[in-house]
């Protein structure tokens, strides 16, 4: 397969004013990073100076939600490439090399290619999306992501009508990822998938930051998927490859335990995991003697996404 490196998008499309504004923010952000001595390489920007605090809020963002403290989000990570607990990835992930970074887009598209991360970020206006994040392990948080629509990125590669599914693949970097090195548990690299209509849905984003800053490595830097109405394991981290396919890909957890983790993995309080209830969730940051939160169908995004699953038996397609 010939992979063409696309550095410039043809100027035939009129630039959205938002994109233009975004470019400036990005340039400012990069300048700020140089000044404060932080870089994508070290993974974490100076938290006192959020570089993307000025990005516009998406209309899909739930501004009214109380955001989970960043400290909780940054130190409680399911990142099985590094560790099977949730405490160690925050330190172990710092060895991940994320600069330079490129994303390969291929499969059923007119214009397959490998895109540099800087180019992707400068061509897609970043926005803040405050989303609920519900883990399959019955805990949840509210995260202010900084990202852009996955659908917009896919459109630049011009999907063919034969593209019915999207497969996303995480980085394979065994020298910095202990569980990949030991071939432990899952088949590496991590793979996730979406139906094309799910991937094109405006709620589905690729995030490069959170809390106004560059994404910490343990949270999926430099680029991760966020699908707010699905369980967290669908929101694949450190994405290096996006393929548009005719057939559904087999996702990592689905392959590991097909009866426990389905392809859809939509948040649904009425469909329990075979070993535990999904009816309620512990919101991180909520104190003792605070009851659990009642889990909502599609994690509360039913109004926007329920139509995607009309006439589908959600118990069967869990």
């Amino acid at each position: 397969m010939i992979i063409k490196t696309i550095k410039n998008i043809p100027g035939s499309e009129i630039t959205d004013p938002l994109v233009f504004q975004q470019r400036r923010t990005l340039i400012k952000a990069m300048a700020a990073m140089m000044l404060t001595g932080t870089s994508i390489r070290t993974g974490r920007a100076d938290s006192s100076k959020p570089i993307w605090s000025a990005v516009p809020k998406s209309r899909l963002s739930a501004h009214e939600l109380e955001v989970t403290p960043a400290d909780a989000t940054e130190n409680y990570n399911n990142y099985y490439e590094f560790a099977f607990n949730k405490e160690d990835p925050s330190s172990l992930a710092q060895s991940l090399r994320i600069d330079p970074w490129s994303v390969e887009i291929g499969g059923e598209v007119e214009k397959p290619g490998t895109y540099q991360l800087e180019d992707i970020l400068s061509q897609h206006p970043l926005q803040e999306y405050i989303y609920r994040f519900r883990c399959v392990e019955a805990w949840s948080m509210v995260v202010p992501w900084v990202g852009f629509s996955l659908g917009d990125l896919l459109k630049t590669a011009k999907p063919l009508s034969s593209a019915k599914f999207v497969k996303l693949t995480s980085v394979h970097q065994p020298d910095s990822m202990p569980k990949q090195r030991n071939n432990a548990m899952l088949d590496w690299p991590y793979v996730e998938g979406l139906r094309i209509d799910e991937a094109m849905h405006p709620l589905t984003i690729l995030a490069a930051g959170m809390y106004g800053n560059i994404l910490p490595k343990q949270n999926g830097a430099p680029l991760r998927l966020v699908v707010p109405w699905k369980y967290g394991f669908k929101s694949i981290k450190a994405v290096v490859k996006i393929e548009l396919l005719k057939r559904p890909p087999i996702s990592s957890w689905n392959k590991f335990a097909p009866n426990e983790y389905g392809f859809y993995a939509n948040v649904n309080p009425d469909v329990p995991h075979p070993r535990w209830s999904q009816n309620s969730e512990r919101l991180l940051g909520s104190g003792f003697f605070t009851p659990r939160r009642q889990t909502e169908l599609f994690n509360g995004y039913g109004e926007q996404v329920a139509h995607l699953y009309r006439d589908m038996d959600l118990r069967h397609f869990f």
């Binding site: 400290d71 909780a72 989000t73 130190n75 409680y76 399911n78 099985y80 099977f84 607990n85 949730k86 405490e87 399959v136 392990e137 805990w139 548990m185 590991f256 329990p272 075979p274 070993r275 535990w276 209830s277 999904q278 009816n279 309620s280 512990r282 991180l284 940051g285 104190g287 003792f288 003697f289 605070t290 009851p291 659990r292 009642q294």
Partner: protein
Amino acid sequence: MIMQINNLRSLTIAVCFIPLLWVVFDIAFDNLGSNQMQALHIRLGDWALRFLWITLAITPVQTVTKWRGMTEYRQLFGLYTFFYASLHVLVYLAVDQVFAWRIIGIDILESSYIWFGLLAYIIVFSLGITSSKASKKLLGKSWKKLHRFIYIAAGAAMIHYFWQLKGNLAEPLFYLLLIFMLLGFRAVIWFKNKQLSQMMIPKGRASTDTESD
């Protein structure tokens, strides 16, 4: 000698409270991490399990060392198992679910890992309330039968532990290995005893047979 043993007993009673103090300390200093509720469940559950293993280990240790003074320690550790398991259950009901009975009901009905925890707790509770010398006398032979259920409690607690994990099974497998070793030890002793008694019985029969012939 008696003084020493009593001192050792008091010391043991005090030391067994350290895990609780440690948890209280970590709560006070906000040391339980991002998901403090889950951390609290795991801490108390882990200690209930650890005391259960210690309780189970007493009899094999007694057999090997032939030190007979350990029976009361078995009771003591058993009661600490009961204590930490009760805290674990109480924290779930009061601190986590805040007695929201409808949600608790759904949670228990839909979570098979809780069924095993509940079974283990019912057994530990029953053994805890019948642990006194008075109930031992009162229940007679059935006391021993009842208290053998501790092995079922251990197995159920193990399943309860690893059934709620998404993936990592290393630690529960270590505990599972422990319980198999303890059960294996009991099986070996039982088998040896049986062999011994079988060696005795045929001899007796043989002698009576020859007498009748």
